[in-house]
Structures are given as structure tokens and as C-alpha cells.
Symmetry: C2
Subunit: 407 residues, 2 copies
């Protein structure tokens, strides 16, 4: 890979050759992929992008850690829509708001970007089986992308995982193990099996390539805005991998000269589970927290990627805000009703954060902001039912209908 | 519209000027939009398409019934992926199979194509409110696309409609009426209200523009295949609007000289509800049938668009095949596991038909076939749970795990 210099530990700075199946540093720290931006600059320009037909996350392959000869594997991921939302911008009192709807990815979440990368790297390294432990979007996106690529998957979930998510995983043909025990026990069994059988490990906590896949969401946002970087990018934050990826993508584009500034990150967590924001705001090391939020995809009390996430928020001059579950439900309804984008609870949390900052008078009037929707509302219909209540009932009687709707 | 000659009744042949809010013919027949292909040929060529940046269903606007000055409204619909599926092709014993995954549209079904068209035509005609009666994908796609465009919607569903679909509709801010009564009563109330209040009518049974939106799925397939028309296109068939649209798109591309043949339609219905295939196979007029299938989106015993659908299948030299619910479930698992595409039951019915035809030795060895997946499996998680059964349970014990998976 001419574009990659090394993988560097974010904790101790030790450097490693970028093997396709490299995991964490000897010190336990997660690795960051370091690029040769001077070299990439000569290959990736506005002009080359304009002439490029590839309309997927692989459009930015000079900024991705894959070999020149590698054919990307998995589903067709990325190039999700960026909608301008003028009515919401007016309501928030800002110059412009854009909604990046990553819920229209093939398995309906941003995690497809990481899983397509994992599948591609596993094929590069010659593996035929990938494994992970997760109950959520990471697992289903891995199962779907691996199915398309013809790879086997072993996926470990706690047996309490929602039935719908289990059904989706089984549909994709994953070798699914429902572990009768806690998440810790689930992870422990997956680790024992991965260590013994040597499967490729798709685990955002240890695989440095996953956030490199996720960062393409930021590349796309910047190109969709014709390389005019917005002032802020709002992201919901759980284990920290997504926000770290978003920042990396923004940083990439600045470093190769495609944009002239790095937007500030708005990091939004659930008030009931906000270890990363708490650490950034206090300046103290992060501490585990309880997981008191219904937004399951960001209910992460022990984040897997706290270092990269905290660095990303700080380095961008970021803003932290925590929202209640009711504020998330309100944002879910508001975004669907006003922009036609139906996100899952964690998917709309970034927008909930913007609504809260606006009420507190903390959004500048001239701000241009992008809010990322990380997952589709169809992933969690039960929560949607709770958020909207009951419909109006009516007999086949026009007068009754008119009365009930005040017509 | 320089590209449109008129709207012509498919029953009596009477012609009408293409007003944006025109409905059915005086004789009750549905109208077909008639194009000036000689004119369009001069504007729409492989060269113009190659230079065109628009990557949505509006890419083919010379073939769409909108005014030259109209700015399309609604969500970002279309340009869904076309996956080659070599492993499935081998299994079916054909040369090549392609899967068109229309479940990744913004509200997760092909119906977004019709709803984006409806919203655009309603805006063209100056309406601010659209209405329809439906329980399924048509309603949710209308609600989502109208929300994005800032239009009001009145949607009528029978009160027995699934809670998840009701939640999605309410999320998009539709004025939703749950009618305590049959579907006939629901339709009747909607008709009374639409007639009285003059809302724009998004009803595939009466609005001639909706299948013009749907046909873009066929335009895309042909361009994605570099204008090499496949031998067959397989479609699941319910009320007939989608298959009519698919045929129209294939016909369009042939008439403007972008392809050199019209593929044969493979019309797949559920064995428990197959009035259109029965009519085509018998040559007799269609008769209402019971709705005995779990594939709700195609459980249409009284199809709304039988004439256009029957003509489409016949004119293409089409093939009809009916499949059982078990065959649909099998196709759903097979497609997800082998191609990474998770479709709803009606969404995978076309593929179920191909599997059945293959077993009967009715697919030529050299055939190139496209199968359209019309909706996302996340729309109907309950059915998915029924289709996959229970996962393997295991304690945190490597030996137990190995034993259960035969490792």
C-alpha cells in the first residue's frame, strides 16, 4: 500500500507494518492507520473525483487502507443521500442544516462501511471466515456483507438479544450462537473461539481498519457539499468508533487539500450513558457508566474506542451535549415528519443534540451543520410504536372523520 | 411536456391531454402515458447518459412525464444496486443472474419511485395535500416523500393494519385514519374525503403517473447492464402496477434505441392469490380470488391494474409461475444467505419463481436473468422470525460450542 505509512498505537506511539490482519498494540492500545498525504495529494484531486464513476464508499480508495490491486468485496455501501433541511435549519436558528441519511445502506446502518472494509481486508489476507460478538448493527452488517462476499461468519450474541436482530442475522446465514449469559461471557466465548480457530476478527475494539471504513461517510459529506466544509458535524456517540471515523475522514480531506478547514464535532450521547462526553468535559480519564438509555446502539457504558473518540472531539474543538430519551423520541418524530428521514433512536440522537443546543442558544446563527443519521428506524419498530402513540380511529363516516381532524 | 403526446385509455383508446392531476378515463379504464419516442431519441443517448451526474430515478427524465422546468421533489429515490449473483446462477443452471435490490430506497421499497413521482406531480399541479388508502409500502413511501417535500398527507388504513406500518406512517407525520371496517369501507371513506376536499390522489388504480415512476427500475437495470438487455426480468406481481411499470421501462428503452430487444417478463404470484397469472394462462378475463398468502404486499385478490399487467406479460412473451408460501420463505433465506440481500416476502417472490422454474427445467441454460427485490425484509420482521427458527444456544464453554457446531 503506497498510501499507508504504518499503523501507530494511539497510546504508546509504537509503529507496525500494516498487515491486513493486524490487531492491537502490545501495550493494549488501538492502532491508527497513518497515511502518506503528500503522496495521496498527487493522486486524489477534485478533478480525479469529478471523472470517477465509482459511486460507493470505495470512491476514496487513495485514502483507504487496501492494496492497489484489491477488488473491494461486500455489498454496495455508501454514497448515501445528503439532504438539505431548510425548515429544520430555520427552527434551529442556523444558516443551513444537512441530514446525511446512512440508514439507506444495504443492511440499513453506517456499520456497513466498517463491515465492507472488514470483509475486504479478510479476503486480502486470505481468510474464509470472519467472527465478531455484538448484538446490533455491526453483527447484521457483517453477516450481510460476508454473505455477499461468500465468506463464513461466526457471530456471538447474548441470548437476551432482540428477536428481530437474531432473525436478520440468521437470515444472512451467520453461524449464530446465542450465549446464555452476560455480554462479558459472550465476548469471552467469542475470544476463545477466535483464538483457537484463527478466524478474521471484526471487532471495532481491536481491528484498526474498521474506523477507516466508517470515515468514508465524512469524505462523502464533504464532496456532496462541493468541498465547502461545514462548521459542525453532529454525531451520536456510543463506543466511540463512529465519531473517531468521522473525524478521521474530515482530517483526511483537509490534509490532502480538498477542504480548507476541519469542522468541529458535536458529540451527542444519551444522558443515561455518556462516559465519553463526561471525560471530554471534565478533562479526567473516562469512567465506566451504567447503560440507561433505550437507544441501544449507543448504550455503551464501557466504550471500546475511548481514546480515538476523545482525541477526535478534543482535536476538532468539539462540543459535547447529552440528551434524554424523551429528547431522542422528539427528534425522531421531528426528523421523520420534517425531512422524511426515519432513523433509529441512536440514529437521530445527533439531531436531538442540535435541538437541545439550539434551545440553549448555543448554535451560532451563521452556522452550517451536518447531522448524521447512523441507522434506519425500521431496525427498531417497537421503539417507534412507543414514540408515536395510537392513530385516530374512525368509522366509514365522513362527518365523523371531519370532526376528528377538525376539517 | 414536449416528450409526452397524450394519456390514452388502455380500455377504449380515448386520448386526453396529460394534465398533472388527470385520473381515469370516462369509461373507467386506466390511462397510459404515450411518449414521442422519435423526439426523445434525439435527446437521450448513451452519450448523454454517460455525461449525466444525476444518480437517481430522475436520470431518465426525457422518459418521464414531468414538465421541462419541474424540479423533482421527494426523497433521493432510485439507482439501487444491481448485484451479479454467480453462485445463485450456477444453482439455477443459467448463464447469469442479477439481483436488483430496490429495498434500499429511502422508505425501503420500490414504491418510493411511484411516490416521488406523485409528490412531484402534485407540486406541479399546485396541490399542498396528497391522499391515499393503503396499508403497505405505498402509504409509507407517500408519507416519507411528502414529508421531505413539505406536503400534507391524509392516509386511510383499515384498523387491522400491522402496528409497525402504522408507526412508520405516524412517524412521517401523516394524518392517519385507522378505519374501523373492511378495506372496502376504508377505500370508500378515503374516496368521499378526497372528492370533497380535492386532495391530490395517489392511488395506483386511478393515477396514470405512478407506474411511470416505477418504470425507472427497468431503465436502471438496462443501463447497469451497459444496455445489454437480459433475456428475462422476474417480478413479483400483486395489484399489477409494478409489473406494468417494469414492462413500460423495458419498452421505453427499446423504443428509443438504447437496447435491441425487450426482455421477457417472468410474472411470479403467490399460489394462494394469483388472479393475474390465472388470466394470462387461461386467456379468460381475470376473476377475483381469495388472498391466501403471507406475502402481504402481493396479497391482492382484486388487482387494481389488471389490464396493464396482463398486457405487459403477454406483450413481452412472458412466463407465469405461482409459488407457495414455503417456497417464498425458502427463497428469502437463500437470497439473504447467498447474496446478502434481505427482502420482504413479496420482495423475494420473483426469486422463488426462478427457483421453481429451474427445478422444472424451464430456464434455458444460456439465459441471463434479472430478479427484482421490491422491498426490504426489515419491513416485516415477524415473517422473518417465522422463516428462520431459533438460534443455537450455548453456555460460555468452548467445548459445548464446538460440539454444537461440529467443529
Amino acid at each position: 500500500m503506497k498510501n499507508v505509512i504504518c499503523c501507530r498505537c494511539v497510546k504508546c506511539g509504537r509503529e507496525y507494518a500494516p498487515a491486513p490482519d493486524i490487531t492491537t498494540c502490545g501495550c493494549g492500545g488501538i492502532l491508527d492507520v497513518i497515511y502518506d498525504y503528500d503522496y495521496i495529494k498527487t493522486k486524489l484531486t477534485r478533478e480525479t473525483l469529478r471523472r470517477r464513476d465509482e459511486m460507493t464508499m470505495w470512491r476514496y480508495r487513495e485514502l483507504l487502507p487496501i492494496e492497489e490491486a484489491t477488488v473491494p468485496r461486500g455489498l454496495r455501501v455508501g454514497m448515501s443521500p445528503l439532504y438539505e433541511a431548510p425548515r429544520i435549519a430555520r427552527e434551529l436558528g442556523i444558516r443551513a442544516l444537512y441530514i446525511k441519511d446512512d440508514g439507506v445502506n444495504p443492511t440499513a446502518s453506517l456499520k456497513d462501511r466498517a463491515s465492507a472494509m472488514a470483509v475486504t481486508k479478510a479476503c486480502e489476507a486470505g481468510y474464509d471466515t470472519i467472527a465478531c460478538s455484538s448484538t446490533g448493527n455491526a453483527a447484521s452488517s457483517l453477516a450481510g456483507n460476508a454473505a455477499q462476499a461468500g465468506l463464513n461468519t461466526y457471530i456471538f450474541v447474548p441470548s437476551r438479544a432482540p428477536k428481530g436482530k437474531i432473525a436478520q442475522l440468521m437470515m444472512f446465514g451467520a453461524h449464530l450462537t446465542a450465549v446464555d449469559g452476560t455480554y462479558e461471557e459472550t465476548f469471552s466465548l467469542s475470544k476463545a473461539a477466535i483464538d483457537k480457530y484463527g478466524w478474521y476478527n471484526r471487532n471495532a475494539a481491536i481491528n484498526p481498519y474498521l474506523s477507516e471504513g466508517k470515515k468514508t461517510v465524512a469524505h462523502e459529506i464533504l464532496e456532496q457539499l462541493r468541498f465547502q466544509a461545514p462548521d459542525y458535524v453532529a454525531v451520536s456517540v456510543g463506543d466511540g468508533c463512529t465519531v473517531a471515523g468521522v473525524y478521521k475522514g474530515l482530517y483526511d480531506m483537509y490534509m490532502v487539500g480538498l477542504t480548507d478547514k476541519i469542522p468541529r464535532i458535536i458529540s451527542v450521547q444519551a444522558l443515561g450513558c455518556c462516559p465519553i462526553n463526561t471525560a471530554v468535559l471534565s478533562g479526567a480519564p473516562w469512567q465506566p457508566q451504567a447503560e440507561n438509555t433505550y437507544a441501544d446502539s449507543i448504550a455503551v457504558g464501557v466504550p471500546r474506542n475511548p481514546d480515538k473518540a476523545i482525541n477526535a472531539i478534543r482535536d476538532s474543538g468539539g462540543v459535547c451535549v447529552n440528551v434524554t430519551d424523551d429528547e431522542i423520541r422528539e427528534a425522531q418524530r421531528y426528523l421523520a415528519k420534517t425531512a422524511g428521514v426515519f432513523g433509529e433512536p441512536a440514529g437521530v440522537t445527533a439531531t436531538a443534540g442540535l435541538m437541545k443546543l439550539s434551545r440553549a442558544g448555543r448554535l451560532p446563527e451563521d452556522a452550517v451543520i451536518v447531522s448524521i443519521v447512523t441507522g434506519n428506524g425500521l431496525k427498531d419498530i417497537e421503539s417507534a410504536i412507543q414514540a408515536v402513540g395510537e392513530p385516530i380511529h374512525c368509522r366509514n363516516d365522513l362527518s365523523e372523520f371531519e370532526e376528528k381532524f377538525g376539517l
